[in-house]
């Protein structure tokens, strides 16, 4: 298990009060260094202008062709792209490692916005299974409902669904935040390892089953707790964070967060870094 100890050399982030400890063990933090700036850009990313806007009708395109077109438009400097007629196609918008404003005028099928790092996306429709799987950074907002495995294995970024989501939301998630305005199905937070899930409505059975770490906040009724999940005290700092997050997410800004239920991992796992609040670790 990693230990927490004071840092000897302060980084800029730490001097601003954002970090007060450094991790040792298998998980290492790496801070941005201007001298190594080129290492922080992906090969093949583009300088785009958010004021340069275009539309792309994908009605008669395959998902591959549509994604290639998006890439081509970014290479031409377009920073705002509106996708017309997605019509439930699978795998649209995957693998975008760029800053980009991407707007879908319609619904997506499976694996929409998978493995992205950086774009800001608004989907004016519904999404199918595994939306934004492996999201690393950026913000994805879905205006309607989402299917199962919403935000599977995300590592960072904000994933927001204004409607309801299916089963296994946030399965295996390793960071980032998932926010759902409606209800969520069974096994929400299944095997989650890090990050935050906020559900304003009800959740199904086996909430947080086999979770390693991370935190889940539920506004409505809970079907049942899964193995290893346990209720924890909702602190004032939790409430402040929830208010801020819901405001940023443009969802439930007036929601009474003081009534929410907080769920954390109750089991202390052998050989697993303790990076999250540990108030209940070992309680089971």
């Amino acid at each position: 298990m990693a230990n927490l100890k004071n840092t000897e050399t302060k980084t800029k982030a730490q001097s601003m009060g954002m970090h007060t400890e450094v991790l040792t063990g298998r998980t290492q933090q790496k801070f941005f260094n201007p001298d190594e700036a080129e290492n922080f850009y992906y090969f093949g990313t583009y300088d785009v202008d958010f004021n340069k806007r275009t539309e792309l009708d994908v009605k008669d395109m395959t998902a591959t062709d549509a994604n290639k077109h998006i890439d081509k438009l970014m290479s031409q400097g377009y920073g705002t792209i509106v996708i017309k007629n997605p019509q439930g196609k699978h795998s649209l918008g995957v693998g975008i490692l760029n800053k980009l404003n991407l707007i879908f005028e319609g619904s997506l099928g499976y694996f929409g916005m998978g493995s992205c790092d950086g774009p800001t996306v608004r989907i004016n429709g519904r999404v199918g299974w595994s939306c934004a799987e492996n999201l690393m950074a950026g913000k994805v907002v879905i205006e309607k409902n989402a299917g199962s495995c919403f935000g599977a294995a995300i590592r960072g970024g904000d994933l927001i669904c204004k409607g309801s989501v299916g089963a296994r939301t946030g399965i295996d998630m390793k960071g980032g935040t998932i926010i759902v305005g409606g209800d969520a199905g069974a096994f929400t937070g299944f095997m989650m390892q890090r990050g935050r899930i906020i559900i304003l409505g009800n959740v199904g059975i086996n909430l947080g089953d086999s979770m390693y770490d991370g935190t889940i906040f539920i506004g409505g009724k809970i079907g049942s707790f899964g193995s290893d999940a346990i209720e924890a005290e909702l602190t004032s700092s939790d409430q402040d964070w929830l208010k801020r997050k819901l405001k940023v997410a443009e969802i439930g800004e007036n929601f009474n967060v003081s009534k929410m239920t907080k769920i954390v991992a109750g089991k202390k796992l052998w050989n697993y870094d303790n990076l999250e609040p540990a108030e209940k670790k070992g309680a089971i």
């Binding site: 429709g125 409607g163 299916g166 069974a186 199904g204």
Partner: protein, 314 residues
């Protein structure tokens, strides 16, 4: 992985054959070893429609053993004799393919069990469906291929369910293809996506109660299980709700009767389903693109939750 689709028009008929073909073809990447349709067409309701196979399709990747087509002719002769011996009258007989037939039969008895037993006592013969409205058509290949082979795009009716199969647990043949008829109930059909893990235990118990299995496909169990519950007096919806406890594994399945369409999802919600519901149409499929094939405009859809059962009437 398989793809399932279903739709029901409420208060009107439509070209369900063509619509279901479009929905299933959109799902063909989920499996196209075989495709099946259970179509509820507009009929006068006087006679039974029986879909029958007297052999297997031995082409198109089939795992079946080739037989002489003359054997099919012999089987048809015996079947016709059996129909007459049961006091039924053949109103119309159509040989759609060498191994596939469609009958219109006048039969006054309501119990189809004895009738079916007699017909299926002929080796190699299987009743794919029997009912006043239901017709099950299934064969090897994708949705369009099967639709074209059987001229289904002209079928007009109120509702239907269909299945595109990726064969995993049993052979590539018609007997393992979906939909399954809810023997011995008139007009009951089932399609399933998933895997049942207590198939053999349930099958043995149901066979001991006199129910029949024609394949070794685990999905057939659902049709037989619900049919048995209905034999015991349960309604369709009660039988479906009971199946959530009695069937173990992962599943999303559809059941259709003469005037209704239902769906059920296992308690882990492990198998996908997207649903669209309006006052005059319910359409559902393993993926949204199935629904989009008949409703290309922007619509509101949702995923039913774990353990959910829904039934709609025409």
């Amino acid at each position: 992985m398989c793809g399932i689709a279903g739709l029901i028009h409420r208060g009107k008929s439509s070209n369900v054959g063509k619509e279901l073909q479009g929905m299933l073809q959109a799902l063909k990447h989920r499996g196209e070893d075989s495709t099946g349709y259970a179509l509820y067409g507009d009929t006068d309701g006087k006679n039974f429609i029986m879909r029958l196979k007297v052999g297997e399709n031995v082409g198109e990747g089939s795992s079946s053993v080739m037989e002489e087509t003359s054997i099919y002719d012999e089987r048809v002769k015996i079947v016709n004799a059996h129909i007459l011996s049961m006091g039924a009258k053949i109103i119309k007989e159509e040989r759609i393919l060498p191994y596939s037939l469609r009958y219109e039969v006048s039969y006054k008895e309501n119990d189809l069990r004895e009738f079916s037993r007699k017909i299926e006592s002929v080796p190699g013969v299987e009743i794919l469906s029997m009912g006043k409205s239901l017709e099950v058509i299934k064969d090897l290949g994708n949705a369009k291929a099967v639709c074209d082979r059987y001229n289904l795009d002209k079928v007009v009716g109120t509702h239907g369910i269909g299945h595109g199969r990726m064969a995993t647990e049993s052979g590539v043949d018609i007997k393992s293809a979906h939909p399954f008829w809810g023997y011995p109930f008139s007009d009951v059909s089932v399609v399933h996506n998933g895997q049942l893990t207590n198939y053999w235990n349930n099958r043995r118990a149901l066979e001991n109660q006199g129910m029949r299995f024609m394949s070794e496909c685990d999905s057939e169990l659902i049709a037989v299980y619900i049919a048995q519950k209905m034999r015991e007096g349960a309604s369709l919806e009660e039988g479906m709700r009971d199946s959530l406890k009695g069937l173990d594994g992962v599943f999303t399945y559809f059941v259709a009767t003469k005037d209704s369409l239902g769906m059920a999802k296992d308690t882990m919600a492990a198998k996908p389903l997207v649903l669209y519901e309006s006052d005059d149409l319910v359409a559902m499929g393993s993926e949204e693109i199935a629904i989009r094939s008949i409703l290309p405009q922007e619509i509101d859809t949702y995923d039913p939750y774990d353990g959910e059962v829904k039934v709609w009437q025409i």
